[in-house]
Amino acid sequence: MNIVEIRDLVKNYPLGNTTVHALRGVSMDIAQGALMSVVGPSGSGKTTLLNIVGCVDSATSGSVKVGGSETTSLSDRELTFLRLRKIGFIFQTFNLVPVLTALENVEFPLLLQGTLPKAKVREKARQLLEAVGILGHEQHKPAELSGGQRQRVAIARALVTDPDLVLADEPTANLDSETGDSILRLMQTMNQERGTTFVFSTHDPQVLRYAKDVVRIHDGQLAGG
């Protein structure tokens, strides 16, 4: 079963008097439980692809279905709720709310959902912090954590709502190789243990060994897997 279905996806950006063709008719499916890596050089369109799948950017044309919903026809509010309930995000750097502790950052999406009681929210957040290995740092603010610890908190936050899909845009770009490896291993573990679908972009060939599927993108077009 596919969690994401993309057909003829085109994304053009105006840049001054010219148009940048970021995606030129991409079609692909992402199966539930996948651990997929989108690989390509800088400017190839991998971040744009993840942004559109993650409903933070809109397509110029084409079709994108996430969890069965055609995202190109949804309103801003509907897209926000889709992100809140079905998609988890791990960004390169701007991952956490600076004024919240690690624990509160993980609780944040659940509090936005407002469906669980406070105690349950706290319990779930603690479990995830434990799962990503930083339980002793739950009262620390992001500024008091290392880069690797912050990404672990981000992974915990991305998983706390039990999303169908977790998108990670170059999650190891700002980390040393050892920390980067540990983050990727963590994602691999989560994928295996929880069955969560992970899609991460990278331009580092070393990262590929963690992916079950690899999609190569070049000049806005898929180059094969």
Binding site: T47, N51, G54, V56, D57, D76, R77, T80, F81, R83, L84, R85, G88, F89, F91, Q92, T93, F94, N95, L96, V97, P98, V99, L100, E104, F108, P109, L111, L112, Q113, R157, T161, D169
Partner: protein
């Protein structure tokens, strides 16, 4: 709860910016509260100085009275006689929301110089002294002489009118007996003028020329409790003398008084012949116009105005209701608010109030703009953080609420402190005894002593206004913040 926690921590994190915005809110709230205190004190003071000392809440005049400004009209324009006063007063007094009423005569009178000098003028209020004092307790303070006894004819001369008469006529008027030199016009003191006259010849001054001249004894010299420079032009005299001066006679009096020869005189067109010789003070001059008035007068005594004090009703509402009553009962009267009746004074009061409110309003608009700009800058600086929150599922509404909450916390802490300090300052100022003798400042001060005032409703108004500013100041930053997308955050990153 999440929003408030985030708001509080964001403010603490950006302490410098919070202090700047908070400082503006503190100062704005302090000035707003103080300004409202001054405005309220002014209104309260005006009420004491004008309503409680001179006009009442509402003034009833003849329906033929075209100009609202019955007290301070330019050139002393005549105030029409108010006929059927008993019916009018009966109708007014029967209303449950009317506290009490007082009829008065009010018109300009010429003060005639008995030694061929220039005449002066004085605004004359014809009153029943006892009724007037009961209606305006303590409004006129006698410094020399005495208050008229019941049935006693004569004048109560305020120092302002005395000064005016001295300027135009060069004469000083005072009651018999010892006189404090400070009550004599300053220039007269300087020139060491010592001749004081104890009576004054007054002649009604009106468009209809229906007046008589009358010698009136000065019974007392004194001051109005407040705004003496303005009200000081109004001399009080007993109503019978007033009517004689103004030539107001009832039909029954006319029928009794007019002899055949007098009727012939009235028909004469050569009025100058009447003034050809003899002592002015000893003559009573009547004209055809007087007879016309008398025809309308019926048998009611004639007054010019009915002053009305209201109970728990605004002057505007009182006027509306009184006019309905007069119309329904076909009474020849109409009502006006005290603001309208004192013309320029009422307008000046409204102007000062408007200026103060305008100043406070302008202050807050400027404050709102500065705060809005600071918060909008802050929102843009936090694009990454806000965009990330949007990416993980925060709605635009959540972000807007976050911004509003941040401003609200600042307003509650700093604005609240400003309002509190404003209340304390307004409470302390009356005890400092800051005083003025300037009439314009007296209006602002709410009396001779600067007496700003804040009632609970005024404080509530301050808080509401503060809330309004917070909302106004938050609108733009909220819009900016809510429009930040996750993509903006990514682009910035």
């Amino acid at each position: 709860m999440l929003v408030w926690r985030l708001a509080w921590r964001n403010l603490w994190r950006h302490r410098g910016r919070s202090l700047v915005v908070g400082g503006i809110l503190f100062l704005g709230a302090l000035l707003l509260t103080f300004g409202n205190g001054v405005v309220s004190g002014m209104e309260d003071g005006l009420r004491r100085q004008v309503v409680e000392s001179f006009t009442g809440d509402v003034v009833v005049a003849s329906d033929k009275q075209l100009d609202d400004n019955v007290f301070l009209s330019m050139m002393g324009k005549e105030v029409e006689p108010l006929y059927r006063i008993q019916a009018v007063r009966g109708a007014v007094d029967s209303l449950s929301w009317v506290k009490k009423s007082l009829p008065i005569g009010k018109n300009l009178a010429l003060a005639l110089h008995e030694n061929e000098g220039s005449p002066g003028y004085v605004f004359l209020l014809g009153v029943d002294f006892q009724d007037w004092q009961a209606f305006f307790p303590g409004a006129f303070q006698v410094k020399a002489g005495h208050l008229p006894k019941p049935g006693e004819a004569g004048l109560l001369m305020p120092t302002g009118a005395n000064e005016q008469l001295f300027q135009t006529m060069g004469q000083i008027y005072a009651p018999e007996g010892p006189l404090d030199s400070l009550l004599i016009p300053e220039e007269a003191r300087r020139l060491s003028l010592s001749e004081v006259r104890h009576d004054l010849v007054l002649m009604g001054y009106s468009n209809t020329m229906s007046a008589s001249d009358q010698r009136l004894k000065v019974l007392g010299l004194g001051k109005y409790r407040s705004l003496n420079t303005i009200w000081g032009h109004f001399a009080l005299c007993d109503i019978e003398s007033y009517r004689s001066v103004q030539g107001y006679h009832r039909n029954d009096e006319v029928v009794t008084d007019l002899s055949e020869s007098e009727a012939k005189v009235l028909e004469s067109e050569d009025l100058d012949a009447l003034l050809a010789d003899g002592d002015l003070a000893d003559q009573t001059v009547s004209t055809q116009a007087k007879t016309e008035n008398d025809v309308n007068a019926g048998v009611d005594p004639i007054w010019n105005l009915l002053l009305v004090k209201l109970a728990n009703t605004s002057p505007e509402e009182g006027v509306r209701r009184l006019d309905s009553v007069f119309q329904a009962r076909k009474l020849p009267a109409r009502a006006m608010t005290w603001h309208q009746a004192v013309g320029v004074i009422g307008s000046m009061a409204l102007l000062i109030r408007g200026a103060l409110l305008g100043f406070v309003g302008l202050l807050f608009v400027v404050a709102a703009i500065v705060i809005a700009n600071t918060l909008a800058m802050s929102a843009m600086e936090r694009a990454s953080e806000i965009g990330m929150m949007r990416a993980v599922g925060a709605t635009r509404t959540f972000i807007a609420r976050l911004m509003l909450s941040e401003t609200s916390v600042l307003a509650a802490v700093f604005g609240g402190a400003g309002v509190f300090l404003g209340v304390v300052v307004v409470g302390i100022i009356p005890y400092l005894g800051i005083s003025t003798t300037n009439d314009l400042l007296q209006m602002v001060y709410g009396g001779e002593i600067f007496h700003p005032l804040l009632r609970p409703l005024d404080i509530l108004l301050c808080l509401v206004e503060l809330g309004g500013v917070v909302c106004l100041a938050s609108l733009y930053p909220m819009k900016i913040a809510a429009s930040i997308t996750p993509l903006d955050a990514i682009a910035r990153d």
